[in-house]
Protein backbone atom coordinates (compact mmCIF):
# COMPACT_ATOMS: atom_id res chain seq x y z
CA UNK A 1 0.00 0.00 0.00
CA UNK A 2 1.49 3.29 -1.15
CA UNK A 3 0.35 5.69 1.58
CA UNK A 4 2.12 8.63 -0.03
CA UNK A 5 0.17 8.12 -3.26
CA UNK A 6 -3.03 7.69 -1.26
CA UNK A 7 -2.44 10.94 0.62
CA UNK A 8 -1.63 12.77 -2.63
CA UNK A 9 -4.84 11.51 -4.22
CA UNK A 10 -6.95 12.60 -1.24
CA UNK A 11 -5.20 15.99 -1.28
CA UNK A 12 -5.79 16.38 -5.02
CA UNK A 13 -9.46 15.39 -4.68
CA UNK A 14 -10.02 17.75 -1.76
CA UNK A 15 -8.38 20.75 -3.42
CA UNK A 16 -10.21 20.09 -6.70
CA UNK A 17 -13.59 19.79 -4.99
CA UNK A 18 -12.95 22.86 -2.86
CA UNK A 19 -12.22 24.98 -5.92
CA UNK A 20 -14.68 23.36 -8.31
CA UNK A 21 -17.90 23.29 -6.28
CA UNK A 22 -18.21 27.08 -5.76
CA UNK A 23 -17.46 27.54 -9.47
CA UNK A 24 -20.07 24.92 -10.37
CA UNK A 25 -22.64 26.68 -8.16
CA UNK A 26 -22.18 29.90 -10.12
CA UNK A 27 -22.13 28.21 -13.55
CA UNK A 28 -24.92 25.71 -12.73
CA UNK A 29 -27.21 28.46 -11.42
CA UNK A 30 -26.58 30.68 -14.43
CA UNK A 31 -27.27 27.80 -16.83
CA UNK A 32 -30.44 26.90 -14.93
CA UNK A 33 -31.99 30.37 -14.86
CA UNK A 34 -30.44 32.53 -17.54
CA UNK A 35 -31.27 32.53 -21.20
CA UNK A 36 -28.52 33.76 -23.46
CA UNK A 37 -27.25 33.30 -26.98
CA UNK A 38 -25.01 30.27 -27.41
CA UNK A 39 -26.26 28.62 -24.22
CA UNK A 40 -26.46 25.20 -25.84
CA UNK A 41 -22.87 25.61 -27.05
CA UNK A 42 -21.70 26.39 -23.52
CA UNK A 43 -23.60 23.36 -22.22
CA UNK A 44 -22.04 21.18 -24.93
CA UNK A 45 -18.56 22.48 -24.14
CA UNK A 46 -19.03 21.66 -20.47
CA UNK A 47 -19.93 18.08 -21.42
CA UNK A 48 -16.90 17.56 -23.69
CA UNK A 49 -14.67 15.93 -21.01
CA UNK A 50 -17.34 13.24 -20.59
CA UNK A 51 -17.03 12.00 -24.16
CA UNK A 52 -13.36 12.62 -24.94
CA UNK A 53 -10.83 9.88 -24.08
CA UNK A 54 -8.78 10.94 -21.01
CA UNK A 55 -5.58 10.63 -23.02
CA UNK A 56 -6.88 13.17 -25.55
CA UNK A 57 -7.84 15.58 -22.77
CA UNK A 58 -4.40 14.94 -21.21
CA UNK A 59 -2.69 15.62 -24.50
CA UNK A 60 -4.41 18.97 -25.03
CA UNK A 61 -3.73 19.99 -21.45
CA UNK A 62 -0.09 18.99 -21.83
CA UNK A 63 0.19 21.11 -24.95
CA UNK A 64 -1.88 23.94 -23.48
CA UNK A 65 -0.05 24.15 -20.17
CA UNK A 66 3.43 23.00 -21.25
CA UNK A 67 6.59 25.08 -21.46
CA UNK A 68 5.90 26.05 -25.04
CA UNK A 69 2.41 27.39 -24.28
CA UNK A 70 1.76 31.03 -23.27
CA UNK A 71 -0.04 29.82 -20.13
CA UNK A 72 2.84 27.57 -19.12
CA UNK A 73 5.40 30.30 -19.78
CA UNK A 74 3.34 32.96 -17.97
CA UNK A 75 2.88 30.76 -14.87
CA UNK A 76 6.58 29.85 -14.88
CA UNK A 77 7.54 33.52 -15.08
CA UNK A 78 5.16 34.39 -12.31
CA UNK A 79 5.86 31.54 -9.87
CA UNK A 80 9.04 29.92 -11.13
CA UNK A 81 7.08 26.67 -11.29
CA UNK A 82 5.99 24.56 -14.24
CA UNK A 83 2.36 23.55 -14.51
CA UNK A 84 3.07 20.20 -16.11
CA UNK A 85 4.57 17.42 -14.00
CA UNK A 86 3.53 19.42 -10.94
CA UNK A 87 0.70 19.14 -8.41
CA UNK A 88 -0.76 22.51 -9.46
CA UNK A 89 -1.06 21.25 -13.05
CA UNK A 90 -2.93 18.19 -11.78
CA UNK A 91 -5.34 20.44 -9.88
CA UNK A 92 -6.10 22.49 -13.01
CA UNK A 93 -6.51 19.32 -15.08
CA UNK A 94 -8.77 17.73 -12.45
CA UNK A 95 -10.94 20.84 -12.33
CA UNK A 96 -11.32 20.94 -16.12
CA UNK A 97 -12.01 17.22 -16.47
CA UNK A 98 -14.55 17.24 -13.64
CA UNK A 99 -16.57 20.28 -14.70
CA UNK A 100 -19.42 18.15 -16.11
CA UNK A 101 -19.56 16.02 -12.94
CA UNK A 102 -19.90 19.16 -10.83
CA UNK A 103 -22.04 21.40 -13.03
CA UNK A 104 -24.61 18.87 -14.23
CA UNK A 105 -26.06 17.75 -10.86
CA UNK A 106 -25.99 21.31 -9.52
CA UNK A 107 -27.67 22.75 -12.62
CA UNK A 108 -30.38 20.08 -12.44
CA UNK A 109 -30.90 20.82 -8.75
CA UNK A 110 -31.37 24.55 -9.44
CA UNK A 111 -33.81 23.69 -12.21
CA UNK A 112 -35.99 21.73 -9.79
CA UNK A 113 -36.61 24.77 -7.60
CA UNK A 114 -40.15 25.84 -8.53
CA UNK A 115 -40.49 29.32 -10.02
CA UNK A 116 -43.17 29.99 -7.42
CA UNK A 117 -40.60 29.63 -4.65
CA UNK A 118 -38.15 32.09 -6.18
CA UNK A 119 -40.97 34.53 -6.97
CA UNK A 120 -42.28 34.26 -3.42
CA UNK A 121 -38.78 34.90 -2.05
CA UNK A 122 -38.44 38.07 -4.13
CA UNK A 123 -41.88 39.19 -2.96
CA UNK A 124 -40.83 38.47 0.63
CA UNK A 125 -38.26 41.22 0.17
CA UNK A 126 -35.26 38.88 -0.05
CA UNK A 127 -32.18 40.22 -1.84
CA UNK A 128 -30.41 37.99 -4.37
CA UNK A 129 -27.79 37.19 -1.74
CA UNK A 130 -30.39 36.17 0.85
CA UNK A 131 -32.36 34.24 -1.78
CA UNK A 132 -29.24 32.26 -2.69
CA UNK A 133 -28.07 31.45 0.81
CA UNK A 134 -31.43 31.12 2.61
CA UNK A 135 -33.58 29.49 -0.06
CA UNK A 136 -31.70 28.16 -3.06
CA UNK A 137 -28.63 26.65 -1.39
CA UNK A 138 -30.61 24.58 1.16
CA UNK A 139 -32.82 23.36 -1.68
CA UNK A 140 -29.98 22.38 -4.06
CA UNK A 141 -28.00 20.72 -1.30
CA UNK A 142 -28.66 17.15 -2.54
CA UNK A 143 -27.33 18.17 -5.97
CA UNK A 144 -24.26 19.78 -4.42
CA UNK A 145 -23.63 16.65 -2.37
CA UNK A 146 -23.91 14.46 -5.46
CA UNK A 147 -21.51 16.74 -7.35
CA UNK A 148 -19.09 16.67 -4.42
CA UNK A 149 -19.02 12.87 -4.14
CA UNK A 150 -18.85 12.36 -7.91
CA UNK A 151 -15.94 14.77 -8.32
CA UNK A 152 -14.05 13.52 -5.28
CA UNK A 153 -14.35 9.88 -6.39
CA UNK A 154 -13.59 10.70 -9.99
CA UNK A 155 -10.42 12.62 -9.12
CA UNK A 156 -9.38 9.83 -6.75
CA UNK A 157 -9.58 7.32 -9.59
CA UNK A 158 -8.34 9.57 -12.43
CA UNK A 159 -5.63 7.84 -14.42
CA UNK A 160 -5.24 8.89 -18.07
CA UNK A 161 -5.10 12.64 -17.65
CA UNK A 162 -2.85 12.39 -14.58
CA UNK A 163 -0.40 10.11 -16.35
CA UNK A 164 -0.28 12.31 -19.45
CA UNK A 165 0.12 15.55 -17.57
CA UNK A 166 1.85 14.64 -14.37
CA UNK A 167 3.83 11.57 -15.21
CA UNK A 168 4.76 9.46 -12.22
CA UNK A 169 6.68 11.58 -9.71
CA UNK A 170 6.42 10.21 -6.21
CA UNK A 171 4.99 12.76 -3.77
CA UNK A 172 4.22 15.20 -6.56
CA UNK A 173 2.09 13.57 -9.23
CA UNK A 174 1.96 9.87 -8.36
CA UNK A 175 -1.65 9.33 -7.36
CA UNK A 176 -3.19 6.09 -6.06
CA UNK A 177 -4.33 5.06 -9.56
CA UNK A 178 -0.82 5.46 -10.90
CA UNK A 179 0.50 3.56 -7.90
CA UNK A 180 -1.87 0.65 -8.65
CA UNK A 181 -0.67 0.62 -12.27
CA UNK A 182 2.96 0.74 -11.04
CA UNK A 183 2.40 -2.15 -8.65
CA UNK A 184 0.88 -4.31 -11.36
CA UNK A 185 3.80 -3.48 -13.67
CA UNK A 186 6.14 -4.57 -10.86
CA UNK A 187 4.07 -7.79 -10.29
CA UNK A 188 3.13 -6.53 -6.78
CA UNK A 189 -0.40 -7.88 -6.99
CA UNK A 190 -0.88 -7.78 -3.21
CA UNK A 191 -0.19 -4.04 -3.09
CA UNK A 192 -2.35 -3.40 -6.17
CA UNK A 193 -5.13 -5.52 -4.68
CA UNK A 194 -5.10 -3.66 -1.35
CA UNK A 195 -5.16 -0.24 -2.99
CA UNK A 196 -7.90 -1.32 -5.43
CA UNK A 197 -9.97 -2.66 -2.54
CA UNK A 198 -9.59 0.63 -0.68
CA UNK A 199 -10.82 2.54 -3.76
CA UNK A 200 -13.67 0.05 -4.27
CA UNK A 201 -14.84 0.35 -0.66
CA UNK A 202 -14.57 4.11 -0.84
CA UNK A 203 -16.65 4.22 -4.03
CA UNK A 204 -19.39 2.01 -2.56
CA UNK A 205 -19.49 3.93 0.74
CA UNK A 206 -19.53 7.31 -0.99
CA UNK A 207 -22.39 6.32 -3.27
CA UNK A 208 -24.37 4.75 -0.42
CA UNK A 209 -23.87 7.88 1.67
CA UNK A 210 -24.95 10.15 -1.18
CA UNK A 211 -28.05 8.12 -1.94
CA UNK A 212 -29.05 8.01 1.71
CA UNK A 213 -28.42 11.71 2.34
CA UNK A 214 -30.13 12.75 -0.89
CA UNK A 215 -33.16 10.68 0.04
CA UNK A 216 -33.28 12.17 3.52
CA UNK A 217 -32.83 15.73 2.29
CA UNK A 218 -35.15 15.17 -0.68
CA UNK A 219 -37.71 13.66 1.67
CA UNK A 220 -38.09 16.76 3.75
CA UNK A 221 -37.82 19.09 0.79
CA UNK A 222 -40.45 16.80 -0.69
CA UNK A 223 -42.96 18.01 -3.21
CA UNK A 224 -44.17 20.46 -0.65
CA UNK A 225 -44.15 23.49 -2.81
CA UNK A 226 -45.69 21.87 -5.83
Amino acid sequence: MDWQAMWLSVKLSSVTVLLLIPLALIVGRALAYRQFKGKSWVEALIMVPLVLPPTVVGYYLLVGMGNQSWLGQWVEQLTGQQLVFHFSGLVIASILVNIPFAVQPIQRAFETIPKDVRDAAACCGMSRFTLFFKVELPMVWPGVLTALVLCFSHVLGEFGVVLMLGGNIAGETKTISIAIYDSVQAFDFDGAGTMSLVLLLFAISALALTTSLSRRLGGHLGHSSR
Binding site: V117, D119, A120, C124, G125, M126, V135, L221, G222, S224
Partner: protein
Protein backbone atom coordinates in the same frame (compact mmCIF):
# COMPACT_ATOMS: atom_id res chain seq x y z
CA UNK B 1 -42.41 49.95 4.16
CA UNK B 2 -45.88 51.17 3.31
CA UNK B 3 -47.38 53.55 5.81
CA UNK B 4 -50.67 54.36 4.16
CA UNK B 5 -52.95 52.53 1.82
CA UNK B 6 -53.67 53.78 -1.67
CA UNK B 7 -55.30 52.77 -4.92
CA UNK B 8 -53.47 50.74 -7.54
CA UNK B 9 -53.65 51.83 -11.16
CA UNK B 10 -52.33 49.65 -13.97
CA UNK B 11 -51.89 50.22 -17.69
CA UNK B 12 -50.18 47.47 -19.63
CA UNK B 13 -49.55 47.17 -23.32
CA UNK B 14 -47.31 44.72 -25.09
CA UNK B 15 -47.15 42.58 -28.20
CA UNK B 16 -44.57 40.01 -27.15
CA UNK B 17 -43.65 37.56 -25.65
CA UNK B 18 -47.42 37.29 -25.19
CA UNK B 19 -49.78 40.03 -26.37
CA UNK B 20 -51.39 41.90 -23.48
CA UNK B 21 -53.55 44.98 -23.34
CA UNK B 22 -55.10 45.85 -19.98
CA UNK B 23 -56.05 49.07 -18.24
CA UNK B 24 -57.67 48.93 -14.81
CA UNK B 25 -57.49 50.10 -11.24
CA UNK B 26 -58.11 48.54 -7.85
CA UNK B 27 -59.19 50.69 -4.94
CA UNK B 28 -57.90 50.24 -1.41
CA UNK B 29 -60.09 47.73 0.39
CA UNK B 30 -61.44 46.36 -2.87
CA UNK B 31 -61.00 42.85 -4.23
CA UNK B 32 -60.54 42.72 -7.97
CA UNK B 33 -60.83 39.37 -9.71
CA UNK B 34 -58.90 38.84 -12.93
CA UNK B 35 -60.92 36.17 -14.71
CA UNK B 36 -60.26 34.31 -17.93
CA UNK B 37 -59.28 31.03 -19.51
CA UNK B 38 -55.89 29.43 -18.93
CA UNK B 39 -53.13 30.92 -21.03
CA UNK B 40 -55.02 34.18 -21.42
CA UNK B 41 -52.39 36.32 -19.71
CA UNK B 42 -53.79 36.50 -16.17
CA UNK B 43 -50.68 35.28 -14.37
CA UNK B 44 -48.46 37.45 -16.59
CA UNK B 45 -50.55 40.43 -15.54
CA UNK B 46 -50.15 39.58 -11.87
CA UNK B 47 -46.39 39.11 -12.27
CA UNK B 48 -46.18 42.53 -13.90
CA UNK B 49 -47.98 44.12 -10.96
CA UNK B 50 -45.59 42.33 -8.62
CA UNK B 51 -42.56 43.53 -10.56
CA UNK B 52 -41.52 39.97 -11.38
CA UNK B 53 -41.76 40.65 -15.08
CA UNK B 54 -41.58 43.83 -17.08
CA UNK B 55 -44.20 44.83 -19.67
CA UNK B 56 -43.05 46.32 -22.97
CA UNK B 57 -44.88 49.53 -22.19
CA UNK B 58 -47.25 50.82 -19.57
CA UNK B 59 -47.49 52.37 -16.15
CA UNK B 60 -48.22 51.05 -12.66
CA UNK B 61 -48.86 53.47 -9.84
CA UNK B 62 -49.69 52.88 -6.20
CA UNK B 63 -51.07 56.17 -4.90
CA UNK B 64 -48.31 58.69 -5.62
CA UNK B 65 -45.65 56.02 -6.02
CA UNK B 66 -44.70 55.08 -9.56
CA UNK B 67 -43.84 51.38 -9.59
CA UNK B 68 -43.36 51.12 -13.31
CA UNK B 69 -43.26 53.62 -16.13
CA UNK B 70 -41.89 52.55 -19.48
CA UNK B 71 -41.57 56.15 -20.68
CA UNK B 72 -39.60 57.35 -17.67
CA UNK B 73 -37.75 54.02 -17.53
CA UNK B 74 -38.83 53.36 -13.95
CA UNK B 75 -39.00 49.76 -12.79
CA UNK B 76 -39.19 49.03 -9.11
CA UNK B 77 -38.27 45.53 -7.99
CA UNK B 78 -40.74 43.33 -6.06
CA UNK B 79 -38.65 44.06 -2.97
CA UNK B 80 -39.20 47.81 -3.40
CA UNK B 81 -42.91 47.46 -4.10
CA UNK B 82 -43.46 45.65 -0.78
CA UNK B 83 -46.29 43.47 -2.00
CA UNK B 84 -47.88 40.32 -0.63
CA UNK B 85 -47.91 37.55 -3.21
CA UNK B 86 -49.46 34.09 -2.98
CA UNK B 87 -48.38 32.08 -6.05
CA UNK B 88 -50.53 29.35 -7.55
CA UNK B 89 -48.57 26.56 -5.84
CA UNK B 90 -47.99 28.73 -2.77
CA UNK B 91 -44.20 29.01 -3.18
CA UNK B 92 -43.48 27.89 0.37
CA UNK B 93 -39.83 27.34 1.27
CA UNK B 94 -39.81 23.56 1.75
CA UNK B 95 -36.86 23.47 4.14
CA UNK B 96 -38.42 26.00 6.53
CA UNK B 97 -41.22 25.37 9.01
CA UNK B 98 -44.57 27.13 8.76
CA UNK B 99 -43.42 29.72 11.28
CA UNK B 100 -40.06 30.26 9.55
CA UNK B 101 -41.89 30.66 6.25
CA UNK B 102 -44.00 33.46 7.72
CA UNK B 103 -40.92 34.98 9.40
CA UNK B 104 -39.18 35.05 6.00
CA UNK B 105 -41.62 37.73 4.92
CA UNK B 106 -40.99 39.90 7.98
CA UNK B 107 -37.81 41.66 6.91
CA UNK B 108 -39.40 45.01 7.75
CA UNK B 109 -39.93 44.02 11.39
CA UNK B 110 -37.14 44.03 14.07
CA UNK B 111 -35.70 40.53 14.52
CA UNK B 112 -36.85 40.31 18.13
CA UNK B 113 -40.50 40.75 17.12
CA UNK B 114 -40.57 38.44 14.10
CA UNK B 115 -41.38 35.18 15.88
CA UNK B 116 -44.19 36.70 17.87
CA UNK B 117 -45.61 38.38 14.78
CA UNK B 118 -45.40 35.15 12.73
CA UNK B 119 -47.18 33.16 15.43
CA UNK B 120 -49.91 35.79 15.63
CA UNK B 121 -50.50 35.59 11.89
CA UNK B 122 -50.56 31.79 11.91
CA UNK B 123 -53.17 32.00 14.62
CA UNK B 124 -55.14 34.50 12.55
CA UNK B 125 -55.36 32.03 9.66
CA UNK B 126 -56.32 29.23 12.07
CA UNK B 127 -52.96 27.46 12.00
CA UNK B 128 -52.03 27.81 15.64
CA UNK B 129 -50.48 24.56 16.86
CA UNK B 130 -48.69 23.90 13.58
CA UNK B 131 -45.84 26.42 13.55
CA UNK B 132 -43.11 23.78 13.60
CA UNK B 133 -44.42 21.70 10.70
CA UNK B 134 -42.54 21.62 7.43
CA UNK B 135 -44.68 22.35 4.36
CA UNK B 136 -44.34 18.68 3.28
CA UNK B 137 -46.23 17.73 6.44
CA UNK B 138 -49.11 20.14 5.90
CA UNK B 139 -52.27 19.60 3.88
CA UNK B 140 -52.98 21.64 0.75
CA UNK B 141 -55.34 23.96 2.60
CA UNK B 142 -52.88 24.46 5.45
CA UNK B 143 -50.09 25.31 3.00
CA UNK B 144 -52.33 27.81 1.31
CA UNK B 145 -53.01 29.45 4.65
CA UNK B 146 -49.29 29.57 5.52
CA UNK B 147 -48.66 31.29 2.18
CA UNK B 148 -51.50 33.72 2.89
CA UNK B 149 -50.18 34.41 6.39
CA UNK B 150 -46.69 35.01 4.97
CA UNK B 151 -48.05 37.45 2.40
CA UNK B 152 -50.26 39.31 4.88
CA UNK B 153 -47.66 39.41 7.66
CA UNK B 154 -45.62 41.71 5.43
CA UNK B 155 -48.37 44.33 5.84
CA UNK B 156 -48.19 44.65 2.09
CA UNK B 157 -49.22 47.57 -0.04
CA UNK B 158 -51.14 45.22 -2.34
CA UNK B 159 -52.14 41.58 -1.96
CA UNK B 160 -51.83 39.44 -5.09
CA UNK B 161 -53.40 35.98 -5.21
CA UNK B 162 -52.71 33.70 -8.18
CA UNK B 163 -55.40 31.01 -8.51
CA UNK B 164 -55.43 30.69 -4.71
CA UNK B 165 -57.88 27.80 -4.64
CA UNK B 166 -56.79 25.72 -7.61
CA UNK B 167 -54.44 23.41 -5.70
CA UNK B 168 -56.82 22.44 -2.89
CA UNK B 169 -59.69 19.99 -2.74
CA UNK B 170 -63.30 21.10 -2.98
CA UNK B 171 -64.07 20.86 0.73
CA UNK B 172 -60.99 22.89 1.68
CA UNK B 173 -61.80 25.37 -1.05
CA UNK B 174 -65.26 26.03 0.39
CA UNK B 175 -63.72 26.63 3.83
CA UNK B 176 -61.03 28.90 2.41
CA UNK B 177 -63.65 30.99 0.57
CA UNK B 178 -65.21 31.82 3.91
CA UNK B 179 -61.84 32.56 5.49
CA UNK B 180 -60.76 34.81 2.64
CA UNK B 181 -64.10 36.61 2.64
CA UNK B 182 -63.66 37.21 6.39
CA UNK B 183 -60.05 38.38 5.97
CA UNK B 184 -61.00 40.62 3.05
CA UNK B 185 -63.40 42.60 5.21
CA UNK B 186 -60.50 43.32 7.60
CA UNK B 187 -58.04 44.42 4.92
CA UNK B 188 -57.81 47.98 3.73
CA UNK B 189 -55.48 47.31 0.80
CA UNK B 190 -56.13 46.54 -2.86
CA UNK B 191 -56.47 42.78 -3.34
CA UNK B 192 -56.11 41.28 -6.81
CA UNK B 193 -57.07 37.66 -7.31
CA UNK B 194 -56.45 35.72 -10.51
CA UNK B 195 -58.91 32.94 -11.19
CA UNK B 196 -60.33 30.99 -14.11
CA UNK B 197 -63.46 30.27 -12.09
CA UNK B 198 -66.22 32.84 -12.57
CA UNK B 199 -67.98 31.37 -9.54
CA UNK B 200 -65.03 32.40 -7.30
CA UNK B 201 -65.13 35.92 -8.71
CA UNK B 202 -68.85 36.20 -8.05
CA UNK B 203 -68.39 34.85 -4.53
CA UNK B 204 -65.47 36.99 -3.40
CA UNK B 205 -64.72 39.92 -5.67
CA UNK B 206 -66.11 43.44 -5.59
CA UNK B 207 -65.15 43.98 -9.20
CA UNK B 208 -63.75 41.82 -11.96
CA UNK B 209 -61.95 42.13 -15.23
CA UNK B 210 -62.33 39.53 -17.92
CA UNK B 211 -59.21 38.70 -19.90
CA UNK B 212 -58.89 36.43 -22.89
CA UNK B 213 -55.92 36.03 -25.24
CA UNK B 214 -54.26 39.01 -23.62
CA UNK B 215 -57.20 41.33 -24.27
CA UNK B 216 -59.34 42.86 -21.55
CA UNK B 217 -62.89 42.11 -22.65
CA UNK B 218 -64.90 43.77 -19.90
CA UNK B 219 -64.69 45.08 -16.36
CA UNK B 220 -67.33 45.71 -13.74
CA UNK B 221 -69.09 44.11 -10.80
CA UNK B 222 -69.20 40.32 -11.28
CA UNK B 223 -72.99 40.26 -11.29
CA UNK B 224 -73.13 43.04 -13.86
CA UNK B 225 -70.62 41.36 -16.14
CA UNK B 226 -72.53 38.09 -15.80
CA UNK B 227 -75.93 39.62 -16.51
CA UNK B 228 -74.79 42.30 -18.96
CA UNK B 229 -71.92 40.88 -21.00
CA UNK B 230 -70.71 43.47 -23.46
CA UNK B 231 -70.51 41.18 -26.44
CA UNK B 232 -70.76 37.56 -27.47
CA UNK B 233 -67.11 36.84 -26.68
CA UNK B 234 -67.65 37.97 -23.08
CA UNK B 235 -70.89 36.01 -22.82
CA UNK B 236 -69.13 32.85 -23.99
CA UNK B 237 -66.21 33.41 -21.62
CA UNK B 238 -68.68 33.78 -18.77
CA UNK B 239 -70.05 30.35 -19.66
CA UNK B 240 -73.37 31.67 -20.96
CA UNK B 241 -74.76 29.21 -23.47
CA UNK B 242 -78.10 30.71 -24.37
CA UNK B 243 -77.19 33.18 -27.11
CA UNK B 244 -79.74 33.71 -29.89
CA UNK B 245 -80.62 35.88 -32.89
CA UNK B 246 -83.67 38.15 -32.95
CA UNK B 247 -85.14 41.13 -34.80
CA UNK B 248 -86.27 44.36 -33.16
CA UNK B 249 -90.00 44.87 -33.58
CA UNK B 250 -90.60 47.97 -31.51
CA UNK B 251 -89.18 49.99 -28.67
CA UNK B 252 -91.36 51.72 -26.08
CA UNK B 253 -89.40 54.69 -24.91
CA UNK B 254 -91.53 55.48 -21.88
CA UNK B 255 -91.44 51.97 -20.40
CA UNK B 256 -88.06 51.27 -21.85
CA UNK B 257 -89.41 47.96 -23.07
CA UNK B 258 -88.10 46.57 -26.33
CA UNK B 259 -89.99 43.93 -28.29
CA UNK B 260 -88.16 41.33 -30.33
CA UNK B 261 -89.16 38.62 -32.77
CA UNK B 262 -87.52 35.36 -31.94
CA UNK B 263 -88.67 32.72 -34.44
CA UNK B 264 -92.43 33.02 -34.26
CA UNK B 265 -92.24 34.16 -30.65
CA UNK B 266 -92.41 37.74 -29.47
CA UNK B 267 -90.29 38.52 -26.45
CA UNK B 268 -89.74 41.68 -24.46
CA UNK B 269 -86.62 43.00 -22.80
CA UNK B 270 -86.06 45.88 -20.41
CA UNK B 271 -83.30 48.47 -20.46
CA UNK B 272 -82.16 47.77 -24.00
CA UNK B 273 -80.09 50.40 -25.77
CA UNK B 274 -81.70 52.58 -28.42
CA UNK B 275 -82.26 50.47 -31.53
CA UNK B 276 -84.06 50.80 -34.82
CA UNK B 277 -87.00 48.67 -35.88
CA UNK B 278 -85.96 45.73 -38.05
CA UNK B 279 -82.45 45.66 -36.64
CA UNK B 280 -80.89 42.20 -36.34
CA UNK B 281 -79.45 41.60 -32.90
CA UNK B 282 -77.93 38.85 -30.73
CA UNK B 283 -79.26 38.40 -27.22
CA UNK B 284 -78.34 36.33 -24.21
CA UNK B 285 -80.07 35.16 -21.09
CA UNK B 286 -78.35 33.80 -17.97
CA UNK B 287 -79.61 30.72 -16.18
CA UNK B 288 -81.38 32.72 -13.48
CA UNK B 289 -83.56 34.36 -16.13
CA UNK B 290 -85.21 31.10 -17.20
CA UNK B 291 -88.25 29.67 -15.41
CA UNK B 292 -89.81 26.33 -16.26
CA UNK B 293 -93.54 25.83 -16.03
CA UNK B 294 -95.24 22.48 -15.96
CA UNK B 295 -98.42 22.51 -17.98
CA UNK B 296 -98.98 18.87 -17.04
CA UNK B 297 -99.25 19.76 -13.38
CA UNK B 298 -101.86 22.38 -14.14
CA UNK B 299 -99.69 25.43 -13.55
CA UNK B 300 -100.36 28.05 -16.14
CA UNK B 301 -97.66 30.47 -17.00
CA UNK B 302 -98.88 34.02 -16.51
CA UNK B 303 -95.69 35.82 -17.37
CA UNK B 304 -94.76 37.36 -20.70
CA UNK B 305 -91.92 35.91 -22.78
CA UNK B 306 -93.39 32.43 -22.87
CA UNK B 307 -91.67 29.91 -25.12
CA UNK B 308 -93.08 26.52 -26.04
CA UNK B 309 -90.37 23.92 -25.74
CA UNK B 310 -89.86 20.18 -25.99
CA UNK B 311 -87.42 18.70 -23.50
CA UNK B 312 -84.67 16.92 -25.38
CA UNK B 313 -82.62 15.71 -22.44
CA UNK B 314 -82.36 15.84 -18.69
CA UNK B 315 -78.95 15.24 -17.22
CA UNK B 316 -78.73 14.88 -13.45
CA UNK B 317 -75.53 16.46 -12.13
CA UNK B 318 -75.52 16.10 -8.35
CA UNK B 319 -78.22 18.33 -6.93
CA UNK B 320 -78.78 20.05 -10.25
CA UNK B 321 -80.36 18.92 -13.51
CA UNK B 322 -79.16 20.22 -16.85
CA UNK B 323 -82.20 20.59 -19.09
CA UNK B 324 -81.80 20.92 -22.83
CA UNK B 325 -85.03 21.92 -24.55
CA UNK B 326 -85.83 22.58 -28.20
CA UNK B 327 -87.69 25.85 -28.72
CA UNK B 328 -90.79 25.59 -30.92
CA UNK B 329 -90.49 27.63 -34.10
CA UNK B 330 -86.76 28.07 -33.73
CA UNK B 331 -84.18 25.51 -34.75
CA UNK B 332 -82.27 26.08 -31.55
CA UNK B 333 -82.08 24.64 -28.06
CA UNK B 334 -82.06 26.39 -24.73
CA UNK B 335 -79.96 25.17 -21.78
CA UNK B 336 -80.99 25.56 -18.19
CA UNK B 337 -79.66 24.23 -14.89
CA UNK B 338 -82.45 23.73 -12.40
CA UNK B 339 -82.43 22.19 -8.90
CA UNK B 340 -83.24 18.48 -8.81
CA UNK B 341 -86.14 18.95 -6.40
CA UNK B 342 -87.73 21.48 -8.74
CA UNK B 343 -87.34 19.08 -11.64
CA UNK B 344 -89.23 16.43 -9.63
CA UNK B 345 -91.85 18.94 -8.50
CA UNK B 346 -92.51 20.07 -12.06
CA UNK B 347 -92.40 16.43 -13.23
CA UNK B 348 -90.17 17.33 -16.15
CA UNK B 349 -89.47 14.41 -18.46
CA UNK B 350 -87.60 13.76 -21.64
CA UNK B 351 -89.79 14.34 -24.71
CA UNK B 352 -92.30 16.37 -22.71
CA UNK B 353 -93.75 19.51 -24.22
CA UNK B 354 -93.91 22.38 -21.80
CA UNK B 355 -93.53 26.11 -21.51
CA UNK B 356 -90.80 28.23 -20.09
CA UNK B 357 -90.69 31.91 -19.32
CA UNK B 358 -87.82 34.32 -19.78
CA UNK B 359 -87.51 37.19 -17.32
CA UNK B 360 -87.60 40.37 -19.34
CA UNK B 361 -85.07 42.13 -17.11
CA UNK B 362 -82.60 39.30 -17.67
CA UNK B 363 -82.67 39.35 -21.46
CA UNK B 364 -79.58 41.24 -22.48
CA UNK B 365 -78.83 42.52 -25.97
CA UNK B 366 -75.22 42.01 -27.01
CA UNK B 367 -73.14 44.58 -28.81
CA UNK B 368 -72.16 43.59 -32.32
Amino acid sequence: MVTQVADLKCDFSQLSPIPLEAHFHCKAGEMLAVVGPSGGGKTTLLRMIAGLSRPQSGKVTYGDHVWFDSQQKIHQTPQQRHIGYVPQHFGLFPHLTAMQNVMAGLDHVPKSQRKQRALAWLERVNLDGLPDRLPAHLSGGQRQRVALARALAREPSVLLLDEPFSAVDRETRERLYIELARLKSQLAIPVIMVTHDIHEAQLLADRMILISQGQMLQQGRPFEVMSHPRNEAVARQMGLRNIFDATVVSQEEGREMTWLTFGHNQIATENAPKMSVGQQIRWVIPNQGIRFNAITSGRLCKSINKLDVEIESLLVMGEMVRVIARIAGVEQVINADIPLHLCHKLALQQGQKTTLALKSDQIHILQA
